[in-house]
Symmetry: D2
Subunit: 267 residues, 4 copies
């Protein structure tokens, strides 16, 4: 890895585990009550270095991973967390070159994860009816230089989706079950469909609609992530943890007029 | 998505949730005690279709996601599961174009996940001292057409690593702590380092060595995945679940001779 | 503890963790495919001893705890498990001398736990409409000599409860929410009320009725119990675990005609 | 249940879930920033009532369960929580009339749970080398009128235990493994032995000593308790939960000189 340069995004972590994600702008500096670090002084230092602020506090400076970025984004709504995002990417098959649509945009955590995963050859289409959310998400994407991979569409899901050759679709909106019938015709058959739902009532409501709308392979799960203390003589979980972020649901839409396929005798 | 074609990889799922991952070879067929399905008959049918075997059993036919593939690979050792793999990819920043090394290869589940995530512009370097494991992993990769993204190196970690411009490194070997000192000089400073460890004793041992070898930002966690039954009138978790696969550890190697960096007064 | 005597209940555990709960009847013996142990031969041996069957298999012989008994009872229905029972006892305040009612009896696991906890000075009232269940539960209680602490009432909850000076009430019936309005008048105000529910739909339905029927302090939780392997050099959870038994709900009925209390200005 | 009387212990819960455990002393009152409630005004009101402070805030007044009491005790050390206590009682077979010893006393949470469970016919022996802890625990027990069931022994475990006809023994001290060899001779064979341990390192160390000291049926587990929000239209877990309190270990000491028993051919 090349050494630190101006223009890079850097993750500072203090010895008491406080983190700061900052673009290294010439002439600017990290300003915390743990002291100041001038970015110009970091140029040429290897990533991973331990540095000292003018107050003597030490920080490590690392090149942020996509996970680091996701945990630090500006948000004005609940975001999807890395524990769920990693699994969602695998379930949506969101690899390089794919075209994935999501609704809604929210603060853009999933948008960023998808843009990162599909790469410069892929594409993310992000629906939200709120302009302010998409403005925020776009800014978050610009910080990591991936805004050009995302097409924002300010649109209410109740009006349906555009016609796109989607490889997967993800739903993260309140009352997801209200929109299935409307968006169903625009979902290519057999693509991975996913959703995140905060309550069991919504899980129940969404499953009902999906069954009625001919989705198969419906799968519901939740992911719990527990961190451990890292004193090697005292291995044990942290005292507290996040107990719930959301239920994940995955399914696949069957062909809509598949009566022929359905009745084929394939012997 | 294009319709089903010969040469595709297909995931068949029976109504009782039994799944079969098969390449659609001309003239061949899916043969189960739930009946036979001739692949030639599937050509042109849309993905997601429900088909019927000669015995009348219905199957859905879907284009497998990377997660589907990972759950179905041939294995001769414990594999890393999707719940852990998705999170590992985010923590290693294993996106398109990256170069990632892992040891050991094992049955190749992580190798495949990495190859999928880094894309055709990326590269995976996979170390294992056992030739049979690498042969198995290579075959698994060939099935998904990604073998060319992986460089297998049959080598004991005790001999160290090659010198490569790595973006991340992952360790999945028995007694991981035995190898850190040896491989440490080949790890670029600041890159994401990860490991999966079956026991708390190994977590403790690895943390001790990492601390001695100047790794920072050490983080340990475990991920629990719980599936739910999908009867919308009876939402509840499945009766049983996987209780443990492994502990995940992440860290970052500091520059080795960073005394200067360490002592810089960066005001 | 006195040594083993005929008439005692004994828990045999083989070296491969298979357990047998047996009353030590004169002239009889433990008969397993791991060998035979004549009970007469055990008399006078200290509890906790390791013995050997005629086939050479070793067994430990322990005085069973109430938990051991509960795991081994004959059942013809889903039982409540010790992980939940222990917590239920604390939440119901089911200590020595108390009078606790439950519905339904089922196979009697909770009945036994309650009878054990309230002691010979306490009383358990157990409702079930099925005679066969109560016959089974009574036999289970007779084995531990506590049948006299339980009054079985073969009655449908839809007919309400008897008028008893209850200290707590527990509900373990399908569709618990159907019965609240009927039994509400027989529940002394302020007593601990508990229920176990298999699905989130039933949790939702029960909360709605409880709120309408003036219950307060409604509390819902679930308990997960994870066992560990006990090789001291390889501490880690077992591979699999029970993912779900039921959701626990607790509440307290307010006085029914408490308009006066409600409006008192208690300054 | 009789109506509220002076001298009772009462649990006040405000509508925003803040709880207060108070003895109802004549002439005194509950004083919170949510308002004042004079205890004399509560006399004769039914338990479970909703009352109003002089500021208009409503409180429910309930007879506390042993679980309510345990969550509210004065503490100067980490206590064992109800989720663990309920299970411990079942595993120790700590029912009415039993004699149970514990070390150390700590703030007395387990002491109280044991005293409650063994009843007035039972006995708890509680060891701790610190006088201040035992003074605190005694006061906590006096508040629930159960101090006479407990014999406090201010003694270092390194000196061993007294000789008592124990029915069970529980260990909750730092470095539990240091004391096993010393206390082993005073443990009647076959009694339930339990311990709570904060770290996996201590679990490992204790198992090693227990194996060396001829304990059998060693069992290790952890209990996770997750609360749910109780809006019936939005059933979901709380946002955060306790991730760890301790690992529970249970075992049974074999007879010390059981070579005869061990070698008996019991056919």
């Amino acid at each position: 890895m090349k050494a630190i340069q101006l223009g890079d995004l850097a993750l500072f972590q203090s010895s008491d585990h406080k983190t700061y994600l900052q673009p290294l702008v010439a002439g600017e500096s990290l300003q915390t009550h743990r002291g100041i670090v001038a970015y110009d002084d970091l140029v040429g230092i290897p990533w991973g270095s331990k540095i000292r602020s003018h107050m003597g506090t030490t920080f490590t400076v690392n090149k942020p991973t996509i996970r680091d970025v996701l945990l630090q984004i500006r948000r004005s709504s609940q975001i999807i967390y890395p524990k769920d995002l990693g699994y969602i990417l695998l379930r949506l098959n969101a690899g390089p070159g794919k075209t994935i649509a999501e609704a809604g945009t929210g603060s853009g955590a999933l948008t960023m994860a998808l843009a990162w995963a599909v790469g410069s050859a892929g594409k993310v289409i992000s629906y939200d009816r709120r302009e302010d959310m998409q403005t925020l998400a776009r800014r978050n994407l610009e910080k990591i230089g991936m805004a050009d991979r995302v097409e924002f569409r300010q649109k209410d899901l109740g009006e349906g989706l555009g016609k796109d050759p989607l490889d997967a679709f993800f739903l993260d909106v309140p009352n997801a079950h209200h929109y299935i019938t409307k968006i169903r015709p625009m979902l290519p058959s057999g693509i991975p469909f996913g959703a995140i739902l905060p309550t069991t009532n919504q899980v129940s409501a969404l499953i009902q609609v999906l069954q009625a709308e001919n989705f198969t392979n419906i799968d519901v799960c939740e992911i719990m992530l527990r961190f451990y203390k890292t004193n090697p003589a005292r291995i044990r979980p942290m005292d507290r943890m996040v107990a719930h972020t959301g239920y994940l649901l995955f399914a696949a839409p069957m062909p809509l007029e598949n009566s022929e396929a359905d009745n084929l005798d394939l012997t």
